[in-house]
C-alpha cells in the first residue's frame, strides 16, 4: 500500500515535470548585443545608426577602401614601387595578378559587402514607419550614393560585374555578371536620385557625410569615364559654381578643414589618422624604408618648382638608398589629434574633369583656364593657348601630379586614355597584355558562383 502511494506521487511528480516541459523553456531572449531587424530602423535615431554603421565600416582600417585599394591601384599603375616581399602586393607591381590574389579578393569583398549593407539599409528604411519623411529622403540618398560609389569601383576594375540591388541571397548567389553598360546606367540612376535627395548643406559636421555636390562629383567622374563630355562638364561646372568650395593653398589641402573637400571619411580606427597615411609613410626608425615608395617616373614627372613635389612628397634615406614617398597625409600613427580625414572627392579633381571634358569638346581656351587654376595653385606658370593634344597630354600630366595615390586616379586615367599598354608595358616585369586592363575576378567567387565567368587572360 505504501509503495502504491510512493508510486502514484512519484508518477504525478514526473508527469508534472514532463508536462511542464513546454516549449517556453527553449524560448530564449534576443541576444543583448544585437537588435532584431524589425526593430532596427524604428526611428530617426536608429536609422542614423544604420547609415553610420556603413560609414564606419568603410572608414575602418581593415576595409580596403580606407587604404589598400589606393595602394594596389598605385602599384598596378606606375605610381608606386615596393620594398617588401608580400607576393600579393608584388603581383600588382609586376603586373601579373593571379586570380587567387588576396588583395583582389579583399577589394571585391569590401565593395560587395558595403553594397549589401546599403541594400539592406534601403530595404529597412522602405519598410519602416517610424522614420520621418525628411530623414528618410536624406538617408536613402546617402545610401544610394554609397552604393553607386562601390559599383563605380567594381565596374572600372573588373568590367562586367553582378549588379545586385536586393538582399535575397537565393537570387544573389547565382547572379551572373551584368553588362558594364547596365552597371553604369544603374550608377547614374542612383547618383541622379542621390543628388536630388540631398541638399547643398551637409547633414553633419566636417563634411564627413555627403551633400548633393558629392553625388554630383561622382556623377561627373562617371560621365567622364564614359566619355560623356558634355554631361561631365555640366556636373563639374555646377559644383564649381557653388560658393561652398574653393582651392586651398597647397600645404592645407589634406587637412580636415580644407575648403576644397567635397566629401571626406572620418577615420574611426584606433591609433590611426588615415589608414592611407599609415601605409604610405615610412616608420620613424632610421632603418625603415617606406614600404611603397614613389616610382621613379612619378618622382621625375614634376616640373621644377612644383609645390606638390615639395609639399606632397618627401624622401628618406635608408643606408645608401633614397626613397621618395607620398606625403599628402602626414600622420602615420596615432589618433589624437585627429587632423586628417580620408578625402573622397575634392574640388581640384572636378576642375581637371571639367578641363578634360572641355578639351575633348574642343573648348581649348576654357580647358586651359581650368588647367591654369591647378597649375597656379601648384606654383607653376600659366599655360598659353595650345593644341588640343597638348592640352590633353598636359591634363594627364596634371592629373598624375595632382591626384597621385588618391583612389586609383592614375590607373583610371590611363584606362580612360587607353594608355595602359604604352605606359605600363615597358615597366612591368611580368609583361603587359591588353587583358591586363581588367583585374581577375577572385578565384573564391568563381568557385562559389558557377554563373561567374573569369576575365580574359586569367
Amino acid at each position: 500500500m505504501k509503495h502504491l502511494i510512493y508510486l502514484k506521487s512519484c508518477g504525478i511528480y514526473l508527469a508534472f515535470l514532463l508536462l511542464s516541459a513546454c516549449s517556453d523553456f527553449v524560448q530564449v531572449d534576443a541576444p543583448k548585443n544585437e537588435l532584431i531587424k524589425g526593430n532596427a530602423f524604428s526611428d530617426d535615431q536608429s536609422a542614423l545608426a544604420g547609415i553610420s554603421g556603413i560609414y564606419s565600416s568603410m572608414s575602418n582600417q581593415v576595409s580596403s577602401l580606407s587604404g589598400s585599394l589606393h595602394v594596389v591601384t598605385g602599384l598596378y599603375a606606375d605610381e608606386l614601387n615596393f620594398t617588401s616581399s608580400e607576393d600579393y602586393y608584388n603581383q600588382f607591381f609586376a603586373g601579373r595578378i593571379l586570380a587567387a590574389n588576396a588583395s583582389v579578393q579583399k577589394c571585391w569583398t569590401d565593395l560587395y559587402q558595403t553594397i549589401y549593407f546599403t541594400n539592406a539599409f534601403l530595404e529597412g528604411l522602405a519598410g519602416s514607419e517610424g522614420v520621418s519623411e525628411t530623414q528618410l529622403k536624406q538617408l536613402t540618398a546617402e545610401a544610394k550614393l554609397i552604393r553607386a560609389f562601390c559599383y563605380y569601383y567594381l565596374v572600372t576594375l573588373w568590367g562586367d560585374v553582378p549588379l545586385i540591388h536586393t538582399t535575397d541571397y537565393q537570387i544573389n548567389q547565382i547572379f551572373p555578371r551584368s553588362d558594364q553598360q547596365k552597371v553604369y546606367e544603374a550608377i547614374t540612376t542612383d547618383l541622379i536620385e542621390a543628388a536630388s535627395g540631398l541638399a547643398a548643406d551637409y547633414p553633419s559636421l566636417e563634411r564627413a557625410r555627403p551633400n548633393k555636390y558629392a553625388a554630383m562629383a561622382l556623377l561627373s567622374r562617371v560621365y567622364l569615364q564614359q566619355k560623356n563630355w558634355a554631361l561631365a562638364e555640366a556636373q563639374a561646372s555646377e559644383i564649381l559654381s557653388s560658393s561652398l568650395y574653393g582651392l586651398s593653398e597647397a600645404g592645407k589641402v589634406f587637412l580636415k578643414e580644407s575648403n576644397e573637400t567635397i566629401w571626406q571619411l572620418k577615420p574611426v580606427s584606433a591609433n590611426r589618422n588615415t589608414q592611407l597615411g599609415y601605409l604610405l609613410l615610412p616608420g620613424t626608425a632610421a632603418s625603415l624604408a617606406p614600404v611603397f615608395p614613389l616610382s621613379a617616373s612619378l618622382s621625375a614627372s614634376f616640373e621644377p618648382g612644383d609645390l606638390r613635389k615639395s609639399l606632397w612628397t618627401a624622401s628618406k634615406t635608408v643606408s645608401t638608398n633614397t626613397y621618395a614617398y607620398a606625403a599628402k597625409y602626414k600622420i602615420r600613427v596615432g589618433d589624437s589629434p585627429l587632423n586628417e580625414y580620408l578625402i573622397v572627392f575634392r574640388l581640384a579633381e572636378q576642375i581637371l574633369i571639367r578641363a578634360e571634358a572641355r578639351a575633348r569638346q574642343g573648348k581649348i581656351q576654357l580647358a586651359v583656364q581650368d588647367l591654369n587654376m591647378i597649375r597656379k595653385r601648384a606654383g607653376l606658370s600659366a599655360l598659353d593657348g595650345a593644341q588640343q593634344q597638348v592640352v590633353l597630354d598636359q591634363l594627364v600630366h596634371q592629373r598624375q601630379n595632382e591626384l597621385f595615390c588618391e583612389w586609383g586616379d592614375r590607373w583610371f586615367t590611363l584606362l580612360r586614355q587607353q594608355q595602359t599598354e604604352s605606359v605600363l608595358g615597358p615597366l612591368k616585369a611580368g609583361g603587359w597584355k591588353k587583358t591586363s586592363d581588367l583585374w581577375p575576378l577572385p578565384l573564391s567567387e568563381i568557385n562559389a558562383n558557377p554563373k561567374l565567368t573569369q576575365n580574359e587572360g586569367y
Partner: protein, 984 residues
C-alpha cells in the same frame, strides 16, 4: 597563481579533515559475534596455477590479507557468513559469499582480465557490460591513460578506439585536436562529438578568442588525465540515440575516478621528462641559399639590386644562422605530480586528488603552460541501501605564458639574415613574435550531484544535477618593436570568456523480472542552460610600453561583447529486455527541444532499437563449437540529430559596428538570415559480431556501420556578392559513412610470472556524398562531387617539369578534375602489454594511411623567392634545358614559374600524395621496487617507470611530420619521461 595554489592547499586541508571524520566516525560499528578463521587458496582459472599476492578483503571493512607464495591465505572472520572481495592485478575481481562451517578446502579461481566481458561500461544514463551491451561502445581505462605522459586526455585516445580519429593541431602544450567519430556526417562545421564529463555536457569547441601560439586552446587541457577512470566512446544508434539531437557525431563520456570501498590508499606519482622536435627537413646552407638566389636571378634574367636582393648584396655572405636550432631546437620540460587519496566504508566512499602538470616549449625562452587541478568525489549510501548520493567536483586552474603565434614557419628564414635585423617581413616574422607575449588563465569547475532513492524493489528515483563553469582570460601583448615596421607604441588584446552551464535531470528507473527475463526501464527529463559571455578588448595608444599588460593604460580601447544563451530540454526513455541471458532488446527514444532553432522548428523526436543474441549461451552452439567461449551478434538502427550550429542563427539581427562614426554608434547586419531551418538527421545502422575463443583468451569484434546524414544543416558557402560569405540553411544533400571496424585481443602467454597480451584495432571507412540536388548550380559545384567523399580536393593533373622551360606543367585542358580523397584510407593501433614478474612493458603503435599535402605544398613560398630558405631536397631542380627532374627552376617570382607553383602546382595532384605512417606512439616500462606491503615500511607498492611518446615513426612522408602535415606548424614532440609511483 600563488593565491590559487594557496587556496588549493587550504582546500586540501579541509578535505583531509573531512576524510578523517568520515573514516573514523562514520563507519558501521562491528558486532561482537564469534570469529572464524577462514583458510583458502587462490588459483588462476585457466591453468589452475596458484596466484601469489592476491588481495582478499572482507567486504565493507578494512579487514583483509593477501595470498602467500603457495597461493594460500587465512583470514579472521566475525560471524558465520562472510562477503569476500578477491582481486589480483591482471585478473577480474570476484565477489563471493562464504557460509561457515566449510565442508571442504576453499579454492577460488580468478579469471584473467583480458576476458573482461563483465567489465562495467558506462553508457548514456546507465551502465552495462561488454557482454550484455547491444550498442557499440569503445573504451579506454585509467591504466591506459596513465601510461601516456600527456597533458590532455584527448591525446590519450589517439589510435586506441576503432572509428575514432584524433588529429593534433600542433605539438604545443594546450593545442586543440580535431576529433571525429566514424567520419564526417555534416558537410560544414559541427562534426565534433558530444562530450559529457561525469554526466554533465562539456564544451566541445575551443573557448579561445585571442589566438595564442597553439591557435585555439583545447577545452580539455583543463581536465587532468590522471583523474579519469575511463573514457567511453559511443558510436552507434543504440548507444547515442539517448542523446537525441546531440548524438549524431557520436558521444564521448569522460568518467572521473571515484572512491572505492576498502582501506584508505594514498598514491603519489611523479614524473619528469623532456620533449624534442622529431622529424624536420634539412635546409640549405648559406652557400646553397645564395647560389639558389643567384640562379633565380639568372633564370629570370634580372640583375640583383640592393632593393630586390639585399640578401645577396648587403647581408654578410658568410653569416650562417641555424634558425631551426635557434627557434625550435630547444628541449621542452615536462613535469607532473599527482597525489590521490581514496578509500571508504560500505556506506561512504571518497576520493581526493590534487595534481600539477607543467610543460614548456621547444622555443627559446621559458615559455610554457601549467595546470593545477583537484578532484573530490564522495559517495554515500544509507544502511538499508535505499538512498544513495554521489558528488563529484573537478576543479582546475591552468595558465600559460606563450607567444601569440607559432614561430615554426620562421625556420625557413634565409640563413644569412642578420639576427638583429628589424626586417621582420616574410619568414623572419617569428623573431619579432618572440618579443610579443600571450598569456591565458583558465579556471574550470565541473561538478555533479546525483541522488538516488529506491522507492520499492522495482522502482527507483534518481535526480542528477550538474554545474559547469569555465572562465578563460587571455592577454596578448604586441610591443611596438615587435612589428616589422616598428611602431612608437604597442598594442594589446584582452579576451574574457565566461561560460556556465547547469543541467537538471530527474529520472525514474524500473526493473522487474518478467517471465524468464529481466526488464529495465528508464524514463527521464532534462533541462539545460548554457550562458556564455564574451568580451574582447583591443587596446592601443599606450603612453608607456610598460603598461601594455593592462587595458587601463590605453588611450584607445575598443570593446566588443557578445552574449549567448542556449537552452535545451528533453524527455527520454529506454526499455531493455533481457530474455534468459540470450536475447536482448533495447529501445531508446528522446524528444528534444533546442533554442537554436526558430519558432515551430524547436522540437524533434529521435530514437533507436538495438538487439543482441548471445548465441554461445545456446546449448546447441556450445555443443557444436566447444572452443567458442563467447558469441554475440548484435544490430542497431536509429536516428539522431545534430544541432551544432551557433546560437541565434535564425534571427535577422543588427549589431553594433566596431567603431562609432562621428560619435554615432553604427548598426550593421549581422548575417544573412533564414529562420526556417530544422534539424539535421543522422540514420545509423550497425551490425556486429563479438566472439571469444579458448576461455576468451582470443577475442574478436567485427562491426559494420552505415550512417546516413540528411537534411544537411550548415553554413552554406556563398559568393560574397550576396553580402556575406555564407548562410545557415538545410541542404537537400545526404552524406553516407560506411565502414568496418575490427578489434582483436589475445592473451598470448598467461603464466605465473609472465603474461603477454596484445590487441590490434583497424578501421576502414569511406565517406560519400550520395545526394545533392542541384549541386551543379550551387555554390558547392567546384568543391564536391556526388559519389565522392566530402573531404576531397579537385586538382589539376601534373605532367612533370617541362624540360625546355623548367617550369611545372599541367593538363590544363582537363581543368581541376583529378579527385583525391583526403580522409583516411585506414587507421588503427596495435598494443602489446608484457608483464614479467615485477616488470611491465607496454608498447602502443599507431598507424594510418591517407592523402595529405606534400611539404612543397605547405612551404608556400615559390623556391628562389627572397628571404625564404628551402629544403636541400629542392637542389634537385631544373637547371638547363633537357634536365629531367620533378623540381622546377628557381625564380625570384617571375610570372611563369610563380604561377606554375602558386596557382597550379599547389592545386595539382602532385601536391597531394598518399602518406602512411607507423608510429611508436607510446612506450611505458615500469618496474615494481616494492610489490606488496612490507611490515617495516608503510609503502604498499612502489614502482619506477619510463614513459615515452612518439619514440619513432616510419613513414613515406618527406616533410616534417606525417600527422601534422604542415611545415609551418610545430610537429608533435618526442617526449621521454621517467618517474616514480608510490602507493601507501
Amino acid at each position: 597563481m600563488n593565491s590559487l595554489y594557496c587556496f588549493l592547499g587550504k582546500l586540501c586541508l579541509y578535505i583531509s579533515y573531512l576524510i578523517l571524520y568520515l573514516l573514523f566516525c562514520a563507519g558501521e560499528p562491528a558486532n561482537g559475534q564469534n570469529a572464524y578463521i577462514l583458510k583458502g587458496r587462490i588459483v588462476s582459472a585457466d591453468n589452475q596455477e596458484r596466484l601469489v599476492g592476491a588481495s582478499i578483503l572482507l567486504k565493507g571493512s578494512n579487514n583483509g590479507t593477501s595470498s602467500d607464495k603457495n597461493g594460500l591465505f587465512s583470514l579472521s572472520v566475525p560471524g558465520d557468513r562472510a562477503a569476500l572481495v578477491l582481486s589480483f592485478i591482471g585478473y577480474r575481481s570476484v565477489d563471493t559469499m562464504i557460509s561457515f562451517p566449510l565442508h571442504q578446502e576453499l579454492t577460488i579461481a580468478l579469471s584473467p582480465d583480458a576476458a573482461a566481458l563483465d567489465e562495467t561500461i558506462i553508457i548514456g544514463y546507465g551502465t552495462t557490460t561488454k557482454k550484455l551491451n547491444t550498442g557499440n561502445v569503445g573504451r579506454i581505462n585509467a591504466q591506459e591513460i596513465a601510461r601516456q605522459p600527456v597533458g590532455n586526455p584527448l591525446a590519450a585516445l589517439a589510435g586506441r578506439i576503432p572509428g575514432l580519429v584524433i588529429t593534433p593541431f600542433s605539438g604545443l602544450p594546450g593545442s586543440n585536436y580535431t576529433v571525429a567519430i566514424r567520419g564526417q556526417n555534416s558537410i560544414s562545421n559541427g562534426n565534433e562529438p558530444f562530450y559529457i564529463v561525469d554526466g554533465v555536457p562539456y564544451v566541445s569547441n575551443s573557448m579561445s578568442q585571442v589566438n595564442g601560439t597553439s591557435g585555439q586552446q583545447s577545452p580539455f587541457s583543463s581536465i587532468n588525465p590522471s583523474d579519469i577512470e575511463s573514457i567511453e566512446v559511443l558510436k552507434d544508434a543504440d548507444a547515442t540515440a539517448i542523446y537525441g539531437s546531440r548524438g549524431s557525431n557520436g558521444v564521448i563520456l569522460i568518467t572521473t575516478k571515484k572512491g572505492k570501498e576498502g582501506k584508505t590508499r594514498a598514491e603519489l606519482t611523479v614524473y619528469k621528462g623532456i620533449g624534442h622536435v622529431t622529424r624536420t627537413m634539412e635546409l640549405m646552407s648559406t652557400d646553397q641559399y645564395l647560389a639558389m638566389r643567384r640562379e633565380a636571378f639568372a633564370n629570370d634574367g634580372i640583375l640583383p639590386s640592393i632593393t630586390n636582393a639585399p640578401d645577396l648584396l648587403s647581408w654578410d655572405p658568410k653569416q650562417y644562422t641555424d634558425w631551426k636550432k635557434l627557434l625550435i631546437g630547444n628541449a621542452a620540460q615536462i613535469e607532473d605530480v599527482q597525489l590521490a587519496l581514496s578509500g571508504g566504508t560500505q556506506s561512504t566512499q571518497l576520493r581526493l586528488s590534487g595534481g600539477f602538470h607543467r610543460e614548456t616549449t621547444v622555443f627559446p625562452g621559458s615559455l610554457g603552460s601549467k595546470r593545477g587541478s583537484m578532484q573530490l568525489s564522495v559517495g554515500h549510501r544509507s544502511s538499508d541501501n535505499k538512498f544513495q548520493a554521489n558528488f563529484t567536483a573537478n576543479y582546475s586552474a591552468s595558465s600559460s605564458d606563450m607567444i601569440p603565434a607559432d614561430i615554426t614557419g620562421s625556420i625557413y628564414s634565409a640563413p644569412n639574415t642578420p639576427v638583429n635585423s628589424n626586417d621582420g617581413s616574410g619568414p623572419l616574422a617569428g623573431i619579432l613574435t618572440l618579443r610579443q607575449s600571450f598569456q591565458n588563465l583558465t579556471h574550470s569547475l565541473v561538478s555533479n550531484l546525483s541522488m538516488f532513492y529506491h522507492l520499492n524493489a522495482n522502482l527507483s528515483l534518481k535526480v542528477s544535477g550538474g554545474y559547469t563553469k569555465i572562465d578563460l582570460g587571455e592577454t596578448a601583448i604586441y610591443p611596438g618593436n615587435s612589428y616589422a615596421v616598428a611602431r612608437p607604441s604597442g598594442n594589446s588584446a584582452f579576451g574574457q570568456n565566461n561560460f556556465q552551464s547547469w543541467l537538471a535531470e530527474p529520472q525514474l528507473l524500473y526493473t522487474k523480472k518478467l517471465g524468464n527475463g529481466k526488464l529495465d526501464g528508464l524514463l527521464g527529463a532534462s533541462w539545460q542552460q548554457d550562458l556564455s559571455d564574451r568580451t574582447i578588448m583591443n587596446a592601443s595608444g599606450y603612453s608607456s610600453e610598460m603598461l601594455l599588460g593592462t587595458p587601463s593604460g590605453a588611450s584607445v580601447l575598443t570593446v566588443s561583447a557578445n552574449n549567448t544563451q542556449y537552452r535545451y530540454q528533453a524527455a527520454f526513455a529506454r526499455l531493455n529486455y533481457n530474455y534468459d541471458g540470450r536475447y536482448i532488446v533495447n529501445l531508446t527514444g528522446r524528444r528534444d527541444g533546442s533554442s537554436r532553432f526558430g519558432p515551430g522548428r524547436k522540437f524533434a523526436t529521435f530514437g533507436a532499437v538495438g538487439a543482441a543474441w548471445l548465441f554461445s549461451e545456446e546449448t546447441f552452439v556450445s555443443r557444436a563449437l566447444p572452443f567458442l567461449s563467447f558469441g554475440k551478434i548484435r544490430a542497431s538502427y536509429g536516428v539522431t540529430g545534430n544541432d551544432k550550429i551557433g546560437d541565434y542563427q535564425y534571427l535577422d539581427t543588427y549589431a553594433g559596428a566596431q567603431y562609432p562614426y562621428q560619435g554615432v554608434s553604427g548598426l550593421l547586419p549581422t548575417r544573412l538570415f533564414n529562420a526556417d531551418y530544422g534539424w539535421e538527421t543522422n540514420y545509423k545502422l550497425e551490425w556486429a559480431m563479438d566472439l571469444g575463443f579458448v576461455h576468451d583468451r582470443i577475442r574478436l569484434s567485427v562491426s559494420q556501420f552505415t550512417n546516413r546524414s540528411s537534411n544537411q544543416l550548415l553554413s552554406y558557402v556563398l559568393p560574397v556578392q550576396t553580402g556575406f560569405p555564407g548562410i545557415t540553411r538545410n541542404l537537400p544533400a545526404a552524406v553516407k559513412n560506411k565502414g568496418w571496424e575490427f578489434e582483436l585481443q589475445t592473451v598470448n602467454i598467461q603464466k605465473k610470472n609472465l603474461r603477454w597480451n596484445t590487441a590490434v584495432n583497424l578501421s576502414v571507412a569511406r565517406n560519400e556524398l550520395t545526394k545533392f540536388d542541384g549541386l551543379e548550380n550551387s555554390s558547392y559545384a567546384s568543391r564536391y562531387q556526388i559519389g565522392e567523399p566530402l573531404n576531397i580536393k579537385k586538382l589539376y593533373h601534373y605532367l612533370g617539369v617541362n624540360p625546355q622551360t623548367g617550369t611545372y606543367s599541367f593538363d590544363l585542358e582537363q581543368g581541376q578534375n583529378v579527385v583525391r580523397d583526403m580522409s583516411p584510407t585506414f587507421y588503427g593501433g596495435f598494443s602489446s602489454d608484457l608483464h614479467y614478474k615485477r616488470l611491465e612493458l607496454n608498447l602502443f603503435f599507431q598507424f594510418s594511411k591517407r592523402v595529405a599535402p606534400t611539404y612543397l605544398y605547405s612551404l608556400t613560398a615559390t623556391p628562389g623567392l627572397r628571404g625564404y630558405n628551402q629544403p636541400v631536397a629542392l637542389l634537385d631542380r631544373w637547371q638547363q634545358p633537357a634536365d629531367q627532374t620533378d623540381i622546377q627552376r628557381f625564380t625570384t617570382g617571375a610570372a611563369e614559374p610563380a604561377t606554375a607553383y602558386g596557382t597550379y602546382y599547389r592545386n595539382s595532384d602532385a601536391a597531394y600524395l598518399p602518406v602512411s605512417f607507423l608510429r611508436l606512439k607510446n612506450v611505458s616500462l615500469s618496474y615494481d621496487l616494492i610489490a606488496a606491503r612490507n611490515e617495516k615500511t608503510f609503502i604498499e607498492r612502489c614502482s619506477i617507470f619510463l614513459r615515452c611518446q612518439n619514440l619513432f615513426t616510419l613513414t613515406n612522408y618527406q616533410g616534417n611530420d606525417p600527422e601534422v602535415t604542415n611545415m609551418s606548424t610545430l610537429p608533435p614532440l618526442r617526449t621521454l619521461t621517467a618517474g616514480l609511483q608510490f602507493t601507501f
